[in-house]
Every structure is written in C-alpha cells, then in structure tokens.
Chain length 255, copies 2
DNA sequence: ACAAAAGTGTTTTTTATACACCCATGC
DNA sequence: GCATGGGTGTATAAAAAACACTTTTGT
C-alpha cells in the first residue's frame, strides 16, 4: 500500500486546488567503474551479467538499491566492495536518471513504485582490481569490457556509460584523479599511457606532455630508476599533494 | 555505513544472501534559478520563503516533490512555471543530495521515509522574469537575492547554490547558454555584462572578449544600431546556431 | 567641444605543437 | 653496435593579455 502521505501540505502553498499524489520511489545506485589496462593500453568498464528479471542474462552496470540508513555514496561504495577490492579509487556522482517507465518493474509492481537511478563513476587501478574480480568471477558474472566493445546493456546503461566516459575525460584533463589510481610511485610513461588510453591516441605528444607536467612542479622525482625490458631505465615520480594545493579550484591547470 | 535495521519484513527486492530493508523515498526537486540584472550588473538567485515546517519562515530554494507519472525534469519545469514565467531559459540537472538525515522530517515521520533532493540549475532572462515574479510576489514569498548576499537557508541549500554557481561559471565558459537567455538580438556589451556578472570582474578585457568572440564567427551583425544614452550606438548581434554547429561537443571553444 | 560608449589595431607575453636529437640500457 | 625506450631542447605557430587609439553619438 502506498504510504499515506504526511507531507501533502508541501505543495499546497502555491497549488491549493490541485492536490496530486506524490510518487513513491526506490532508489538505485549504478556504478560506471573504469580502469585502464596499461599493458594493452585500453580503457575498460566493469560489467555484470544480470541474474534476475528484468533483463535476465543481459549485461549491465553493477548496481544496488539503497537501504535504510544508507547514504547514496555509501551504497556506491558498497557496490565497489562487493565487486572488486581495491586500495585506491576515485569515486564521484555522475547523474540521476529518473523518468517514469525507464524501469520495466514499474509496470508490473502493484503499488506504482518508481525506480530512480543515481549513477556514480569510479576509476580504479587495474593491477589490484583484476585479481579480486577474478576471484568473484568464477561463473563469469563480472567482467571487464573495453570501452569500444560494450555490448547491448540492460536499462539505459549504454547511455550512462557514454556519459561517464565523457565525464572521465574531462576530469582527467583538469584534476589530478590519475594519481589516486596510479601506484605511489610511477614513471612518466605510466602516466602518459593512462592519459592516452582515456583521452585517445592523439591527445598530445609524449615529450610535450612530459615537459608541461614537470613544469607545473607537483611531480617529484624520487631518483629511483626502474628498468622494464630494453631501453633506458625510467625515473619513478611521485605526486606531491602539497605542491599541488595552489592549483586546487583553478580549472584546467594541466594537459 | 548501513544502520542496523529492525523491520526487515518490508522487503520487495531480490537480494539473495543479505536481506536488508530497502529505503523508501520521496524525491524532491530543488531549482537554483539564476538571473543577471544587467543594469546593476549582479548575479541573482531566486529564493522562496518557506510557509511550513520544517524551517518555517527561512528562505530556501524553490522546490517541489515529484508526483506520480512525472519525470524529474518535468518537476523542475513545473517549479519554474509556478514561480516565474519566462520565454527563454536554460535548465540542467545539477546534483543529487541524498544522505539520510539531511531532512528533519525523516525523524518525525512515522514510516521511515527518506527525502532525496535532485537539484537543477536554471538561467533565465531577468527582464522577462522579474515582471512575473513580482506578480506572485505580493507577500514577498519569492525574491531575487544577489549571489553574494544569500542569507542562511533551509536544509543544505546554501551548499547547493555554491555548487550551482561553480557549474554556471563553467558552463558559460564552454557552451553557448548565454544566448538562450539573451534577447534575440543583443549588443556585444550586453553579452560582456552577462559574462562579467557571472564570472567576476576580472575575467577579461572587453576588447579582447570582443575580438575573440567575433573571430569565432557565430555572431552575426544585424546592422541595426541601438543607442543607449550617451556614446556611440552599438550594433545588435544575433547568435547563429548553424555557424555554431561545428563547435558543438568541442570543449572550451570560447572565452 | 567634450565626455561617454563602441569599435579597431598593435605589441608583448605566454602556451601549444612539431620534431630533432642525445642518453642509458638490454641483447 | 644497434634497437629500444627515456629524456632534453629548439624553432615555429597560435593564443592570451595589455593597452593605445579611433569612431560616433548625446549633451
């Protein structure tokens, strides 16, 4: 039964004559979880195969419904914890999709409950993430898909991913989210790979990318060298949060 | 972090292993409605004085609860229609605020209903908007406030405005929303006033602003001159949507 | 005539882009 | 020694910022 509505007085102030029934909602959270496979140089999205109706056996974004006492962000983190275990991640709210009839359950449910989806996007380190995903993934209900090979998904999840991808690209350009997802120390080439996987091949020349970033002064050379196969060993750098502070809130500081 | 939860019999969904009670939501929409008073050169926000508890008599964002069969965007437009009548406006979803206990009604209500607020930001033309707002505004329940003189508001509405302001500034820099809110024809100074009211005094020199915009080629001179007091009469320009088309989706095209 | 607002042009500085070249290592 | 990836520098083009100057109006 629809819960009797104690707050109908809310809209009477400007609409005395027109007393409409408020909608009752269940709120879902769906995560667009991105990762970059630096070996293959690909941007990946984590998908889950649905085990229930509607859209049984279709791939979808990992999601959940919000529980009592749980904030939206809590729910988003819970999804993360259930699918993959990572030490570092970046998480941010994306958009709220909430038209009536976007969820087929609205039709078959008896009480006219609406389903609203608040989407979040996350960026995680691939090396860490993959291991744990594989463990859960024994019957292949969870899997990484390259961004350009996403199949037809349940609900409006293809749209949500497209939207998340654009947001990720923008974020990467003007905030230091890459460093939340790279190891503590990394080579400038690691960083460059990450950027070009997300932004596309032709976003910048490596040497220009290099000098621009170093000139900003918040990457410090640890002096430690690391050799990966042939070629000259690379310096390991680390992100200096203090040196970055002055750039905070200044849009488009780098790249 | 999920709060342990006594009445877990209310469940609807299929959550096989971990049977937690889902939260029931009412969904509100709150609008941050911006306008620019070009005479005074000020950025304004439309506020409403609350006529009911909680926060009786405090100022707040105009908002409403979502009705059955109504999309979030519909609700946002309904708020607009109820408060001010405008011909042109720009409207876009901002952010969804949904922690438990952000709304005091959650504590006093019997059924544990949660309140979630999806905020939208709007930009409207001041000349049109003011007239209609004044009509509704007979007992001053609705009023424009300069962005730097916003009082203490109900709920978390001060935060929402701050967030909306940043978004408006960004939007203005890389998309042509100004033209949705200016008259069909306008002087370059009108445009400049709008930009400097939103972005702050020192965003750009007028003459540089001018040449940058004209060079982009989507503003066409109608040839009509308009004189406003002393000084040389200004040309009326109009926005040429076709000429703008190639810039679509290219981020940060101007300013 | 002169103040006020519109509009043009020029100079300087900064940033982006392209690309040539040297360096240190594995094989 | 030479291929491979790391790292530096330079030359050119483009964009941003500062500001001087001209034009056309009202008073």
């Amino acid at each position: 039964m629809p819960i009797p509505n104690p707050n109908s007085d809310l809209n009477i102030e400007n609409q005395p004559r027109n007393q409409q029934t408020l909608a009752d909602f269940k709120v879902g959270v769906d995560n667009v979880i991105f990762s970059v496979d630096t070996m293959e140089n690909r941007l990946l999205v984590l998908l889950r195969k649905r085990q229930q109706e509607p859209f049984l056996n279709l791939w979808s974004l990992p999601g959940t419904l919000v529980r009592q006492g749980e904030s939206l962000e809590d729910a988003a983190y819970r999804i993360m914890a259930e699918k993959i275990k990572v030490n570092n991640l970046y998480l941010e709210q994306l958009y709220t999709f909430g038209g009536p009839n976007r969820d087929p359950r609205e039709k078959i449910d008896s009480y006219g409950v609406r389903y609203l989806s608040v989407s979040y996007f996350a960026l995680v380190r691939f090396d860490e993430a993959q291991l744990i995903a594989d463990k859960i993934d024994q019957n292949s209900r969870v899997s990484w898909y390259p961004i350009n090979k996403i199949p037809q998904l349940a609900f409006d999840h293809n749209e949500i991913i497209a939207y998340g991808h654009r947001r990720l690209q923008n974020k990467l350009e003007y905030s230091p989210i890459a460093f939340e997802v790279l190891p503590k120390t990394f080579t400038l080439n690691d960083l460059y790979q990450l950027y070009s996987a997300v932004l596309g091949e032709n976003f910048s020349d490596y040497s220009n990318f290099r000098s621009r970033l170093l000139k900003l002064g918040f990457l410090s050379d640890t002096g430690i060298k690391v050799s990966r196969g042939a070629g000259r060993p690379a310096s390991l750098y680390k992100f200096d949060a203090e040196a970055f502070a002055p750039f905070k809130d200044k849009p488009l500081v780098f790249i």
